[in-house]
Subunit: 143 residues, 2 copies
DNA sequence: CGGGATCCAATGGGATACTG
DNA sequence: CAGTATCCCATTGGATCCCG
């Protein structure tokens, strides 16, 4: 039960760990699929907001500018399915549903916070790079 | 030239740093926009692959399973515009264009690598959570 | 080889209305 | 309040052709 299983993907390429700096970039790869979920626009924001908090549906909706009710629902369901967010329904009227990070979601939060921090720290450099790029592009078109 | 500028966003809400754990989640916020770019499916993969390497267009295309020529072009242009990737054209025939991370892109790579590593480490937990979720969902529908 | 331009299909995602 | 369901449009992104 604890031995490795080699799956035949139909190709003859060797996908072993020949290169420690290389990882599996195939579409059907687990990591790729999870990355798509985790690196999602809304997921990122939801996880970032749920740090040390426990928010209700409407609170999240209000905090995340621009998200529609539909996308918040979809995003929360995905995160719940992935075991990153815990959903608690309080049987009262009116309904009260709260969302919080699971321990697993908490570990991801650290990583995401790093990404957010990086963005905050370098936003000026990026803005400058964009301005520079746009200026060059404009200069080439109109001599 | 080095004093802070306060921009009036047209609203009367106070978006000051009242809460150190809270950040600006408005759509027109720089961080939000950059996050969207940086947390993009393909951008993530390109940056992850360009670490300590310098790859040609076709090499990137081959490495990233499932990316179309169009999306690779678009992604590389965006990354170049943001100052994260440097594009070098060698004036030979046939053309030889190489891409590499800029120093700024290098700093981002660290962060992204953390995200990729997190995914690799926790993929089994996530897969288990999904299976569990799906099992419960199926159980509820068919009694 | 490394794209730019174009066309078209898929899908993401908003608006709205209804429910427990 | 916290969704679900439906409709529908806008953007994303793939396929194809062409050019330097």
């Amino acid at each position: 039960m604890d031995h490795e299983v080699t799956v035949d993907h139909g190709g003859s390429v060797d996908y072993g760990e020949a290169d420690p700096f290389q990882w599996d970039t195939r579409e059907d790869c687990q990591v790729r699929q999870i990355l798509d979920r985790v690196a999602d626009k809304w997921s990122l924001l939801v996880i970032a907001l749920l740090d040390r908090r426990r928010l209700r549906f409407t609170e999240l909706r209000r905090e995340i500018d621009g998200i529609s009710q539909r996308m918040l629902t979809v995003t929360l369901r995905q995160l719940e399915r992935d075991g990153l967010v815990k959903r608690t329904v309080h049987p009262v009227v009116p309904p009260r549903v709260e969302y919080e990070l699971t321990p697993l979601g908490g570990t991801l939060h650290h990583t995401i916070q790093t990404l957010v921090s990086w963005t905050e720290e370098h936003q000026n450099e990026i803005a400058a790079a964009r301005a520079d790029y746009d200026a060059r592009a404009a200069a080439e078109e109109s001599p």
